[in-house]
């Protein structure tokens, strides 16, 4: 998946889990938990959405690698 598609997939997942977050103009450095205020269940729902719609499985051991919007997009681009 290229970076553009990965970004679209990540934005779609964020919108699904946190509809109040405006993805247009979203800072790539935003941290999913602290800045977007996703709790552990939201994060699980985000990962689940990516598995179902983008075909990317993020195992729990990799949760630490996808802490920001930018790192999640890079992860999806690399693994899809």
């Amino acid at each position: 998946m290229n970076e553009h598609e990965a970004r679209a997939a990540v934005y779609a997942a964020i919108t699904q889990v946190a509809p109040d977050v405006e993805t247009q103009g979203l800072d790539d450095r935003s941290r999913l938990r602290q800045d977007l205020e996703l709790d552990s269940l939201d994060f699980l729902a985000l990962v689940e959405h990516l598995a179902r719609h983008a075909g990317v499985d993020v195992p729990e051991g990799d949760y630490g690698r996808v802490g920001t919007v930018a790192s999640l997009i890079a992860y999806v681009a690399e693994h899809a």
Partner: protein
């Protein structure tokens, strides 16, 4: 909230619980599962509370008309922060009888519906004991305000690695600070402490939860 603090003589207890075994067990289970069936630590914490509440009935029930009425059933209220602000604490009914997997499913369901504003009236009305779990974000310790007519609230701070001294050695282990806010008209530090001890003991054997 202000009614709670005016009418309930709160007392507070806290203890740090070793979660190394629970987190290791959960990660091993999750590694074998698709995302949709994965657990979060809160599911284990809730189950331990539900089982402990059965053994310490003084934290589980309602104080009404100047006396305490313990509850046979354990309906755990789960404090859910709404994204637009505010808090609701809907009940997971008979939490002590559910498996950890069932509890996890109910937790996801009730949190999703709470955020969508789709809770049933009974779910909001009848928790017998409320739990707030901050998960892997936020502060180390949370001392809650009891929801009247309930008589206790259990708080779990952030689950994270901390230095842990044991058998003369210092190690790094996953741990959490568990607190109990309870009604002094109904229980005391001894019984409240017993409750937290039981929660701790159960979390050392996650496979039995």
């Amino acid at each position: 909230m202000s009614r709670s603090k005016k009418t309930i003589p709160h007392y507070y207890l806290g203890t740090t619980v070793d979660l190394q075994a629970a987190v290791a067990w959960m990660r091993a289970v999750n590694a074998q599962r698709p995302v949709s069936a994965r657990l979060v630590p809160a599911a284990l914490l809730l189950k331990a509370c539900a089982l402990a509440a059965r053994q310490v009935p003084e934290v589980n029930g309602f104080y009404t008309e100047a006396r305490f009425r313990p509850s046979q059933a354990v309906h755990l209220g789960v404090a859910v922060a709404l994204r637009e602000g505010g808090l609701v604490a809907p009940a997971i009914h008979d939490a002590d009888t559910l498996t950890v997997d069932q509890l996890m499913e109910r937790l996801r369901d009730v949190v999703t519906r709470a955020r969508a504003g789709r809770l049933r009236r009974a779910e909001i009305a009848d928790p017998t004991l409320t739990v707030t779990a901050l998960g892997d974000l936020g502060v180390d310790t949370v001392y809650g305000v009891i929801y009247p007519p309930q008589v206790a609230l259990v708080g779990f701070g952030r689950v994270r690695e901390r230095p842990w001294a044991q058998d003369g050695m210092l190690a790094v282990r996953q741990s959490v600070t568990a607190t109990l806010s309870a009604d002094h008209r109904v229980s005391d530090g001894l019984r409240g402490g017993r409750f937290l001890d039981l929660v701790d003991e159960m979390l050392q054997r996650p496979e039995d939860l």
